[in-house]
């Protein structure tokens, strides 16, 4: 009997695959407690670390903070990061903490629509409840901008948003952060920042033709960045081979300068300018120590 049931389901999926996708519910997982209080200063720091400002602000175009990003050209279409100011209509001003947490960590809009993974919720799923509450509090401080960001232009078949349900099932598992118990607190702080908020792997890990990261080759670099850019490998070995040390890497994240006297450009220049330059020295040291695979001196 069970085999018959399975066959029937498969036949149904083949014949009515589209319908199945449409009706397939999305599991949003456990919600955050709605009463959790956030610290806006801590949240603003995390917003910098997470790249919210850089991606959701058209900085070169002189756009208002968080009112929508510059065009991001990808193999799947041209994406514009939306307006996430406190405007209740075109921004996120009407969102509850629960809505916000589900969007950031699960990649699901308040209307129940899945987001494209160009929004790095697959990393932000590692954010703690307190981090999410802090971020939410920080976003309440952002001045409302009533103008929506341009609509993303997504190529067929990727424009079929229900396909994202399949993508999620194939390529994403909702994981919380896993520290390494034999390592120091600072090393694990770096691990958390790199794997969660900073989402380094979004550019430095190669992706398959469906835009999913090839985690077998984590941090081995990618030559398929938006706008035809490339990201070098940042495995511990690759960094050491290039002459990086924990000290020089930490300094590069504030200065944009490499040990050879060169300066970052492209997307990494933006990451330093809009994100890592705002972090504390202690956090940059932790990030560098984790990437170099070294435990900092305690």
């Amino acid at each position: 009997m069970p085999i018959v049931v399975v066959l029937a389901v498969l036949a149904g999926a083949a014949g009515f695959g589209y319908g199945v996708l449409v009706l397939w519910p999305i599991d949003a997982g456990a919600a955050i407690e709605s009463s959790r209080k956030g610290d806006p200063a801590r949240g603003a720091y995390l917003a910098r670390a997470s790249g919210c400002i850089g991606c959701h602000t058209d900085i070169d175009g002189g756009g208002k903070p968080l009112a929508g990003g510059a065009a991001l050209d990808t193999d799947f279409g041209t994406f514009y990061a939306p307006n996430i100011t406190s405007d209740p209509n075109v921004g996120i001003g009407s969102w509850s903490l629960v809505d916000f947490a589900r969007a950031v960590r699960k990649g699901i809009s308040p209307d129940g629509e899945p987001y494209y993974p160009v929004f790095p919720y697959t990393f932000y799923s590692r954010l703690t409840d307190q981090d999410v509450a802090d971020l939410y509090a920080a976003f309440q401080t952002v001045a409302a901008v009533g103008k929506p960001a341009p609509t993303s232009i997504i190529k067929f078949p990727f424009s079929e948003r229900n396909g994202l349900k399949l993508w999620r099932a194939l390529y994403w598992s909702d994981t919380s952060f896993q520290g390494d118990p034999v390592r120091s607190e600072a090393f694990n702080r770096g691990k958390y920042l790199v794997e969660g908020p900073l989402h380094c792997g979004a550019c430095h890990t190669p992706r398959n033709p469906f835009g999913a990261r090839d985690v077998e080759h984590r941090f081995e670099g990618s030559d398929a960045l938006p706008g035809d850019g490339s990201a070098p490998p940042i495995t511990s070995k690759a960094l050491a081979d290039e002459g990086w040390t924990t000290a020089s890497l930490a300094y590069a994240l504030v200065s944009g300068l490499t040990p050879s006297g060169d300066a970052f450009g492209g997307l990494m220049g933006e990451v330093v300018r809009d994100s890592t330059a705002f972090l504390t020295d202690a956090d940059r040291q932790a990030i560098a120590a984790f990437l170099m695979g070294e435990d900092p001196q305690s």
């Binding site: 400002i53 900085i59 968080l66 300094y251 970052f264 705002f278």
Partner: protein
């Protein structure tokens, strides 16, 4: 550009604390960068010169005024660093306010220390209108940060990143 890189390599090592701070050497390297800035940079990129070993992005010729502005700014900040070299480095960059963190435009106070929460949430970076006189009394490491920001700003806009 190679002379800038060599000077910057030595400066970077001192300001990151990897080699001892030598104010005379800082001033000398800053002067080298100053002498290689402005037109010395822009003449290396004649219009359409995308053949050969260039890493320039064609945007450079569409936005030539901005390229010239950044090349000139490099000279300005290098001059400021040569003057500020004997000022004691201040240590860590100041923490921005919530507004600065969340993206509001910074004012000149940002430059001298206090970043606001607006900076954190998206305020723009250092004030590009500053002149060399204003840098004379700044801590040397803050001026060097402006130099690095200038290099990065230009590479971010106008250089193609390849492996």
């Amino acid at each position: 550009m190679a002379a800038i890189g060599d000077a910057n390599k030595a400066l970077r090592a001192m300001f990151s604390g990897e080699t001892p701070y030598d104010a005379d050497a800082v001033a000398e390297h800053a002067q080298t960068i100053g002498s290689q800035s402005g037109e010395a940079v822009t003449t290396l990129f004649p219009e359409g010169s995308l053949e050969g070993p260039t890493e320039a992005n064609p945007q450079i010729w569409d936005d030539w005024d901005e390229f010239v502005r950044l090349a000139d700014r490099l000279g300005l900040v290098a001059e400021g660093l040569a003057r500020a070299a004997y000022n004691r480095p201040s240590g860590e960059r100041p923490m921005p306010s919530i507004g600065a963190m969340m993206g509001e435009t910074a004012d000149t106070s940002t430059m001298m220390g206090s970043r606001t929460m607006a900076d954190m949430m998206g305020g723009s970076g250092p004030d590009m209108a500053m002149n060399a006189d204003m840098m004379t009394d700044m801590p040397a490491d803050r001026v060097f940060a402006l130099l690095g920001d200038t290099c990065t700003a230009c590479h971010t806009k106008f250089r193609v990143e390849k492996d």
